[in-house]
Symmetry: C2
Subunit: 264 residues, 2 copies
């Protein structure tokens, strides 16, 4: 069984991608809706939340984990994943690989939360693969609240104005490839693409789903079940999850996440 977690809803797009690639697997999704957003938290707090999220998934018996959250993947994962006795994937490596493969002019942009961009994790991974690459990174702290409040229509003036600010440096640098380094951002990919025509957008969650599918051995079909858990009232999650899943209805269950240990 594959465990997937995120601060909230964003990781559902990675789940959807992975399930399409590996429909025979069982899935367990956790969204930390009682403590979302992650992108504004400190490293110490993010490490604690990540360890509790992993503890919950392990207690439920998963044997591989995808941290489908750009912030966790950037700030915490490299420091903690080797301490666990199961494979834990993030979204940074896969997205950096995809961007280096896609770029022609070696100018790559990165959008993420404040914590993600401060960590410089995408930049480090890209340069490890291509030391000559120019990386232009930009924190986009309002994108998550805008997406969560439904400001996602292609012609939404508010989101377009905010995006125009955030994309100015990336545009001026002439990047030909742009990593959407937060799993919420693909929901406003239209708006970003309109402001940056001819730029290849890399969906970090989707890239990670492909990496997980390649890395894990194919197993016997166990039915392809999926269960969803959240740390706040599931009603709102179920409703907004339909947008992420393209209309599929789910029924999440609440879990008391801070009762799980922040130690291994």
């Amino acid at each position: 069984m594959i465990g997937i977690f995120d601060s909230g809803l964003g990781g559902l797009s990675a789940y959807k991608e992975l399930r399409a690639l590996r429909p025979e697997e069982d899935y367990l999704y956790f969204g930390d809706t009682g403590r979302v957003p992650y992108g504004t938290r400190s490293k110490a707090t993010l490490e604690k939340y990540t360890r509790q999220d992993i503890a919950f998934l392990r207690a439920r018996g998963v044997d591989a984990i995808l941290a489908a959250c750009g912030t966790v993947s950037s700030v915490v994962l490299d420091d903690v994943k080797d301490e666990y006795d199961l494979p834990i994937f993030g979204v940074v490596d896969a997205a950096a690989d995809a961007a280096v493969a896609a770029t022609k002019n070696e100018k790559i942009g990165v959008l993420g939360t404040g914590a993600t961009i401060s960590s410089r994790a995408f930049e480090r991974k890209i340069r490890a693969k291509d030391p000559d690459a120019l990386v232009v990174a930009r924190a986009c702290p309002l994108f998550v609240p805008l997406v969560e409040n439904g400001y996602v229509a292609r012609d939404c003036e508010v989101t377009r104005l905010v995006a125009r600010d955030y994309l100015a440096d990336v545009k001026a640098a002439g990047v030909d490839t742009l990593i959407l380094g937060c799993t919420h951002f693909p929901l406003i990919a239209d708006i970003i693409a309109d402001l940056l025509p001819k730029v290849t957008l890399i969906n970090a969650g989707a890239a990670a789903a492909h990496a997980v599918a390649r890395a894990l051995p194919r197993r016997a079909d166990t039915g392809g079940s999926a269960a969803f858990f959240v740390s706040d009232d599931p009603a709102n999650f179920d409703e907004v999850a339909r947008i992420f899943l393209g209309g599929d209805t789910i029924s999440a269950e609440k879990v008391d996440i801070d009762t799980f240990a922040a130690e291994i």
Copy 2:
């Protein structure tokens, strides 16, 4: 010693007001920056967080508490405050009193977080005082992220556009008085006032500070100390707190809030 708490920074404006009225008191402020925002959480989660916040303040020896958070005051406080052995004030009663006193046409608007507006707490309190009042309430879920990201300048196009949407119903109804029912909102009072000239704005945190000052007996001057605590890294809090406090520098200390009991 008076304890004041909020989901984060917003309550500092109420603290500033109260300290000006009662400079001889000692203050202890807690901002739950590791779990902010509160305005999108469910009632069960808000009750748990509120009880933990109160437990922390009591453990530090405060003898009166101001919940300087519109969401906590609206959703949780009436259900829990009588269980405690010290006075606990919220912002709803004081703001409702001030609005009923201010209105000439008995049409009152209320702005708040999603949880605040869903609770209908302001509406109930206003109608209890003036059964004939027309109350027009509107959830403004993007105002807190906009304020926390510094989109507060009077000519900020993004915040003006969002505010224009949020204020449409209130404007159409012809209210002459508008409650800013979240302690973050006074930071964009200029933008709101420009869109609603001639409307009296009621600052719920300031109204509550005046109510607390009236209700508590004057005590001997104990030095007028102030201590600040947060549940995430204090560095960012200290920086943004200066905006709320008009330039005063503070130095907050981190506390592990989820180790405090959610029971009395």
